[in-house]
Symmetry: D2
Subunit: 339 residues, 4 copies
């Protein structure tokens, strides 16, 4: 159960409320976010919702049978909008386009991608400065200095920054330079990292785990939300299956299902999903039709020379065309009366 | 290697050709289809293609390194069109729409679906008369009598019939009443069935196996083609993964990959793919954008009363809207310069 | 529900029984096997088992909630023993060892393997004469002639034959020469083949599908049993997962689960399971400890020269040692009070 | 390439060596562990190993083509032994038994498990004080205080402690009380955690990721090793597949493969693997036969009352019997001349 509290609830009212909920055999957790205050009750016994609903200090009360609670559409039917400022948002009813290289490589590279974004009306740029690599001997990114450099250039051009945070110690140092913290697929169940991101007042985009279920992705989001941060975005980036003709199996089935289960916006990453440049546009457009609120894909001036992921990265010409097609497809989708 | 023979090649020329190919250490298989005659050479040693290409009786010769040969785009770049007569075709550059119930249930049901197709300009109808069921105690379909009944009604209305064949003994008895033989996911590697369908001069649609790879699907098609039947259609219908929020994981990544590897048309089945009615339209439209040449989905007058698969079946109103959206999306996709 | 009938039940008693079961809303299927006669009732409503149990002609009645019925341990706790004659059996409490090549290749090869079996007290030999191959251009086996040749040699030496049947038309022609019909992984849900094997009075070993669930394997066995043949053996041979370091993922978890759910004997195939010769012995012995009633593995005089599967085939020296270790391990396992 | 350095190598010799290796186009990484000093060279060009091998300060040089280097058997054929002191070790040629509850719950519980270990000659105890939970509302463990309590009791009884570390900030505070740091399946690719554990001089047991490949597990171990810590243990705990009859699919195929590829000891966790109490003994014994160097399984005085994982936990009587069977099976396995 989710109990939304009145902003002016008193400490004694809160205590009474907790006692009542504990009294019916439910364990309570208090949650305070940027936008509100909640008591989450976890238990199994049946109870009379009206009895609790009548108590003082309650704004609203909802039964949510899912394992995840605060990210469920069952208590919050209205889609959550992530406002990044300056008119840039990730939300239902708009189509966010995020592009950029796998790794931030140099000042020159940053300038070129930023210019590409500006030229094509793309407001958000992706790129890694801390890179998770399976081998300890591979390039691990430019680190914080790279991020600062990127911030200076992107900020001036009005471009928002989406980049991966790999560990709790990076959260604070990255804070001034980041618009969206990305949690990578390998960290999708790094619960300490999720806990800490719950304490930050910036948007967090969580990628589905390498073999994460849809339910696990929602529970990972629940960690951040229950930690205090409602600014959440979900991202499908392909799952691991037996098939090897594609890098991963981009699971577009997840899009309508996540949209039906949660009020959070959902983004698709076709680059990591299918992993082959020639097919990224098709999967991006398929993602739009599946109901995504945004597409994140990799681009680079000369993909063949990218430090990483070149085989799945578009050049600027391909990227420019894809951005236009995404917008056209989204405009058409809005005419359809899809769920 | 694939050697396309001249129509007027003589027996002695053919023998000489075989000897030459065997002489470089390649095993040969002779293939004669509705459209042509081929010698397939399987081997690993390098050879001078010009020496063989100069022999008499050869129309063309191609090196194909894939495990599958005749279904590969490497020797036949031009897309294969499956012409069902009366102006109905499944082919690159058009968008085939196929709908109908999971099971053929009764004359009344057939009449209603046929009328629904006619009303919405849908030229092909699906339905099962022989049903593969995991439990031996479940409904196994109306059988041949059901098919004959269906044929009478559909034929009069100009609607083509797509239906599953489960075993070799059914091929001949079904022949007069079928436009497209469907090979189900569980029979995708039933090599005897594929062999026999190679001897038939009607279209065959092969569904990807329950956990079949893209390569295995192409090799299954190779069985039919090398058996003598070029009229082949590939169908993505979802694969088995760990995820249980959807019935299967509809793998749209397979669409652009199959289109790039093979000259055969590719169809998407969103109903079996995601398995949940509310999300079938999104996945159908995503399939269009991914590059499919057709969509096959389940519809029924009252899905809740369907003998099987009701949970993934659209009602006629939903189906009518979806058919229109598919056409709109396809019209838009044609404007995009996708691979 | 499973109703075991008295051998002397009259037609009118049977009719009355069917009416009663239908009367509580259960669909009935009559099953007559080599060993008995049953009525299977499929339905969901609750009923008073005593009321039906009192009717004339009933030997016993059981509620079985599993999707599979006759292969369930819930009605038949006593393990089923498969007696192949001449003191050779596959059954709980003994350890069946089955070995031989992937493909039957020649008279000389047969003689050598038969001798190897005789030398090592191995009573059952495997080998393929009809080979399912993903590519239509690969060696498809020696066919019926090969089987006859094999039979002559093996029969004289008192060795039983386990070999794959690929289609219904082969069942009858193979009958005189086969001791155990093997249903391969790709045919695990070829329901017509399973139906037809239900009509035969010889043992059938069903391999788990390439990505078959444990439940599906039991339902495939139910097809054969309900078709009239109780002589069934289940075989775990590895499933398809994302892991590529092994050919398949031999799923030994299936062994204790199958033994707990069904009364049928369970065999393990480590050769196809892990697919790498050096590790076949470890997986075979692990299979013994997991609770298997038998091990089937590939052996060949010179594995490097085998027509197929050489990389997972043991030579005779390795095979002789493995057979001894299997027996030692089984002798030890019998001392443990495992489930 | 791995270059093992002489203990007395001079700084200038090291510099010259680095220059030479860089000179052939290889990127170098310096690694200094408790036991030695290495230069890892990563590159693709061919070179004359003798030329580099002749340089001063080199103890040995090896070509290792695997992605992982220092954990590969290709340079260190001799199995690594993990000595925990007081005669307790995890190593090839011995059979480590580790048992205990999923979660450390209370002083009384700790005392009972420790006594159970003492009574049965079990020298290592497992238990979680920091618990990774998919839901933020679930019990997260007793934390550091629980660990201290456990340490006092276990230490007195001579029992070693194996417990999970979830984040870098816990490494130092846990250090005095831990004998083996366990990296859980969800953190198997938490590269920052692995980096930090490389700086610690205590044993680290890395569990295979939820859908981790065998290669990825070895690369995760490479992180710790190249960070400076050679005291590594690998643990198979089941992978995620489509099958749901078991909690996970314990992949025993991984055991002989890991043993063949790496010099590190390999442990099997049947409790998380199959996830069902009744089948844990079978899978444990199967793990022994597959070649494991140790078994880690869950036990609790009253499994039904355990805070977590009760369904896969043995009671003390079952545990005592299993420990004896593991030893018997291992004694037998040693007689077999397995790879």
């Amino acid at each position: 159960m989710i109990i939304q509290l009145q902003p002016d609830i008193s400490a004694s009212q809160k205590e009474k409320l907790n006692d009542q909920v504990n009294g019916i055999g439910y364990k309570t957790t208090s949650v305070k976010t940027q936008l509100g205050e909640y008591i989450i009750g976890i238990g199994k016994s049946e109870f009379d919702i009206r009895k609790i609903g009548q108590l003082d200090g309650i704004k609203d009360i909802h039964i949510v049978s899912d394992e995840y609670k605060l990210v469920s559409k069952k208590w919050k039917a209205k889609p959550t909008a992530i406002d990044l400022g300056d008119g840039v948002a990730i939300k239902d009813g708009e189509m966010a386009i995020i592009t950029g290289p796998c790794s931030i490589e140099s000042e020159e590279q940053i300038r070129k991608v930023v210019q590409h974004c500006v030229d094509n009306g793309i407001k958000m740029m992706r790129g890694g400065v801390f890179k998770p690599r399976s081998s300890p001997y591979a390039f691990r990114g430019l680190g914080l200095e790279g991020l600062k450099l990127w911030y200076d250039i992107a900020h001036e051009a009005g471009i928002k920054i989406v980049t991966e945070v790999m560990q709790t110690s990076q959260i604070e140092e990255m804070y001034p330079y980041v618009d969206v913290y990305q949690v990578g697929a390998r960290n999708s169940q790094n619960f300490n990292l999720l806990d800490e991101l719950g304490k930050v007042d910036k948007a967090v985009m969580i990628k589905r785990g390498i073999s994460g279920t849809i339910e696990e992705l929602l529970q990972s989001a629940e960690y951040v939300f229950s930690g205090g941060n409602e600014k959440l975005i979900l991202c499908e980036r392909g799952i691991r299956t037996y098939e090897r003709a594609s890098r991963n199996t981009l699971d577009l089935n997840a899009i309508p299902i996540l949209k039906a289960k949660s009020h959070l916006p959902v983004i698709v990453d076709p680059s990591h999903g299918i992993g082959l440049r020639a097919y990224v546009p098709q999967m991006a457009l398929a993602g739009v039709m599946a109901g995504a609120d945004g597409i994140i894909y990799e681009s680079h001036e000369i993909p063949e020379k990218a430090y990483s992921d070149g085989q799945q990265t578009l050049d600027f010409e391909q990227s420019a065309r894809l951005a236009a097609w995404i917008r056209d497809s989204f405009a058409m989708r809005k005419n359809f009366d899809l769920l």
